[in-house]
Amino acid sequence: MLPTSIISMPAEREAKPSLRRLQVVWIALTLAALALFAADLQISAPSPGAVLKALAMGFARPDFAALENLRQALLLTLTVAFGGVAIGAVAGFAMALLWGWRAVRMLSLSLRSVHELIWALFIMTVTGPEPIAAVLALALSYSGIFAKVFGEILDEADPRPRDALPGRGMTLSGLIYARLVPSLPAFWSYFCYRIECGIRSSAVLGFVGLPTLGFELDTLFKQGRYDGAAAVLLLIYALILSQSLWLRRRLVPLYVLGALAYLASLSQGPVSAAGLWQLIGVDMVPAPLRGADPGAAGTWRAFGDWLWRLVSHEVLPGAWATVLVSYLAFVLCGIIALFAFPLIVPALAGRIGSGFGHVVLVILRSTPEYMLVFVGVQVFGPSMLPAVLALGLHNGAIIAHLIGREATRIVPGLRPDRPKGAGLYAYELVPRVSSGLIAYLFYRGEIILRESMILGILGIATLGFYVDSAIATLRFDRAAVLVVAMMLLTALVDWGSRALRRRLRVGAASTRPYC
């Protein structure tokens, strides 16, 4: 279901990597080595082997009896995914039509730079741990993504038909006939593809207490019932890997309608406007300003103290940990992609080897990264280690898959007397795929950053940890400041990565491949 053309690249993509690029790689590795010292990478669990073994035993004998109780969780995982993504798409579409407005682009960036898990933490405080919270969280986060992609699709639409109309087609009808209609297939294709992502996101939302599959996985793991947990994981794999069988585009509208109807039929505790107002109008107002006299100098001094305390005690340490985790995962991801892509190139790994390589990469890339980190924390104990490993492996596997496919396509076109083995890898393939690799790496970098923020919920001291703590103590004002910090950090990193990409002359990978 992936769109075929994924990367836009400058003309010199066939050239060998320039010296400058290699220099940057060295600098990146040196920085990573320094970061290793700063990061907390202890294995705090004394016997990770034992947990791994118990988990492996669980996989050897998964307890499918547990699945009996999973029917509801499974149904909700799917309906939440379809409902949330559909609402997000409608809202994103509306924003995309106004993509020319700076305010809309900022709104879209803010919505998508905050992970759906964080949105869920807020929404749950109004709705309770109900499916509607999961639907809205998914819709909020995805509407930002849809707005961006739909906006780009509209921008890329052929301008000529509209321009050829009387008055250059500057009417509503002109927009609909000449711009929207030609973009619909691309919208639809992206929407269907996003559904796949939505299913994973929906499952993961269970980890914060919403009634999807993640909830069951979390509970079973915490009870040490690895056989049951293995069954849930296998179910999630089955769901994700069988998508091509049941997630037919023709059926998607039916699924969406069915999901919305089902969700609407669920009973739900009272959601009052008062509860929402309490959250936004009272709880999220910084404590020193609540009911204070805005004219008094003391009010603003108290607010300044409050803000500074929050920034110095939570925002800065959280941002630093977030940057460390993401950076290390980013470098690891690049290393893994570079060394793992030959696994699926038959000319390098052999036919059987590449089949096996595909299986490894499929498992790594179809497990939601949050679940990988969760399992890692169970095995290694809470430190940055499982976070870096899991994020690096998952994203590295995705890039290795994309690059490996490209390399496989390249091989038959090479000269007949091409080198084999290491020579083929180092001289023919790596130089040819390096631009693509870097482009993908930058794109995954943004996702790594977004994910590493929320890993705080698992006890790793990134920004998400402080958001979780603030919400645990019901201080939504602090949580709101921390969320703004997340948005700013995302924007900052986005800006930096764009500047670096420009200097490296690497094109942007489109935002479309993989969740």
Partner: protein
């Protein structure tokens, strides 16, 4: 021109959202109640489904137990009237009653009037129980329970600061939050953390049921006593369920004598409680910056 279309689309989006709004409707007066998830889910379900049956029987009102995944979720559900009654910890009870003025602590376990936390250690540390705060634990790894647990976080942190004069992160090499008491015991038993702070009833219960070997995970210190768990009810319960409901509910709770139900908490019996009983908890929470 584009603007006109967008308005229209925005309206479409709002309409879709409005289509979901009927979710907010709800039937009949059911007393929904919940509890902070201080132990793993199976234990909680076992404990509270029986309580729900008992209360429903005594009060003649349908009673439904709503499990939640986190401490703040319980508090917020209470404030938002998604639940009307809750079995809170000391701190979450204070949070709830501050968030919803008028709500009242109506009952506590006999043990809750004089609750303590245990500091437990992995056998490999070689630490043993003593009457004073275990200063020898300095530099080791340590886990609390949930972030807003009274017995797993608030009072242990208070005691650590009082006895060592520094924050937990400075005294210990690493500080974590396990999430609940069961998990704390497991993590210390496995050695993931060398030391942990745990609710004494949860630990004693696990020992009694053979789920943990006290030789492997010995208690090394008991904190001074403090007030903890309580049943808290919304202030508007009488309007909703009929005059005198608060009193009837309190009587029903205090009258629980089925050893099976009491054993599930585990409490020997329930006694009356009042908001004032928890004043010390509120003060400690303010000191530790867990309340504004």
């Amino acid at each position: 021109m584009e603007f006109r279309l967008n308005r229209r689309q925005l309206v479409g989006g709002l309409a879709a959202a409005a289509a979901l709004a009927p979710l907010a409707s709800r039937a009949a007066e059911v007393l929904r109640f919940s509890a902070i998830p201080d132990e793993d889910a199976t234990k909680l379900m076992g404990r509270f489904t029986k309580v729900a049956e008992y209360l429903s029987d005594k009060l003649g009102v349908p009673v439904e137990f709503v499990p939640v995944k986190s401490y703040p979720a319980a508090v917020v559900a209470f404030r938002n009237d998604q639940i009307q009654l809750a079995w809170f910890g000391g701190l979450s009870g204070v949070q709830a009653r501050l968030a919803l003025p008028g709500s009242v602590a109506i009952a506590q376990g006999e043990e809750d009037a004089r609750f303590v936390s245990y500091f437990i250690a992995n056998k490999a540390t070689g630490l043993t129980e003593g009457p004073d705060f275990p200063m020898a634990a300095k530099g080791r790894s340590f886990t609390f329970g949930a972030k807003t647990s009274t017995s797993g976080r608030l009072m242990p942190e208070y005691e650590i600061r009082r006895n060592t004069g520094v924050a937990p992160e400075e005294f210990f090499s690493r500080v974590g939050f396990s999430g609940d008491h069961t998990k704390t015991v497991e993590l210390v038993q496995s050695g993931a953390y060398e030391i942990g702070a745990v609710n004494f009833t949860a630990y004693d219960d696990m020992v009694a049921k053979g789920q943990v070997d006290p030789a492997e995970v010995p208690v090394i210190w008991r904190t001074p006593a403090y007030p903890d768990y309580n049943f808290t009810l919304r202030g508007d319960a009488d309007e909703k369920f009929g005059a005198g409901f608060t009193e009837r509910l309190t009587t029903a709770i205090l009258g629980m004598d089925d050893p099976e139900i009491l054993g599930a908490f585990p409490r020997s019996r329930f006694i009356a409680a009042s908001n004032a009983d928890y004043q010390p908890i509120e003060e400690v929470a303010r000191q530790l910056d867990l309340l504004d």
